[in-house]
Symmetry: C2
Subunit: 151 residues, 2 copies
């Protein structure tokens, strides 16, 4: 994680890219058996007969892998206070065993809090891409980040 | 999972409740070490000193636990085709070790596809509640469900 990044460092219009994360079948199965045991995620044979033509990752797993790249690279270690939520999360294409994912993070807005002068809200567009540069997932999260002047 | 539920069975206005899932510290740590290694999720001592006063679950973990309740209880085993995404995901309160979660699923809309007559889109509001009936997370997912008449 970035030790010394603060709200002021998130400049609207800037774009960052981070990765890679390689997706493998055993991790898809592990995650899905625990959290999303639908055939397309946990049963390779049934998934092969199904509409995606093979096993695909749970969308929550793809989101969790995205989160790992975000926590490791984009969010500050000390100044990341919380996330109120996410708008417009979309799963656009399947994620399959062997895929290699990266993320592109575009800073959309950075708004100082009106009620709490020690922090601000950063809104981003995150695109998750695979090795063919296909966008597999997009989302617009919000993150509350501490201001440097109050650290 | 529900073997024999189809698009026609998701009636707007109906409300379902499912649960429980008990949250424990080791699962919070396991998930977060893999996917969301921020101090508030992976370091109990630092989390105790932090703004939440103790360890809290990654929001993606709360979402994944919600997904398990949804897959086990609400989505049909055969007729659940895909999810295009989620709108308005909000993390409203922290989820802590020892919490017991359930979900309330309200069917908002059920719209037959105009382009593919074998399916429709179901939109829901999902509220994740803890043992004190506090709403800790809300989201509005979309699910594409097969129509019975085409099964």
């Amino acid at each position: 994680m970035t030790e010394d990044r603060y709200f002021e460092d998130y400049i609207p219009g800037t774009v960052f890219e981070y990765g890679e994360i390689r997706v493998n079948e055993s991790e898809i199965l592990d995650f899905a058996r625990r959290f999303d045991p639908q055939d397309m995620h946990v049963d390779p044979a049934a998934a092969t007969r199904g509409r995606f033509g093979g096993l695909i990752a749970s969308g929550w797993h793809t989101g969790a892998m995205m989160m790992r790249l975000l926590a490791d690279n984009f969010l500050p270690k000390n100044a990341s206070l919380a996330s109120p939520g996410i708008d417009e999360l979309r799963w656009l294409r399947p994620v399959r065993p062997g895929d290699v994912l990266c993320i592109r993070v575009s800073v959309l807005e950075a708004t100082p809090s009106r009620s709490k002068s020690d922090r601000g809200m950063v809104r981003t567009l995150i695109e998750v891409l695979n090795q063919d540069a296909d966008v597999v997932m997009t989302l617009k999260p919000m993150n509350i980040i501490a201001r440097r002047s109050y650290s």
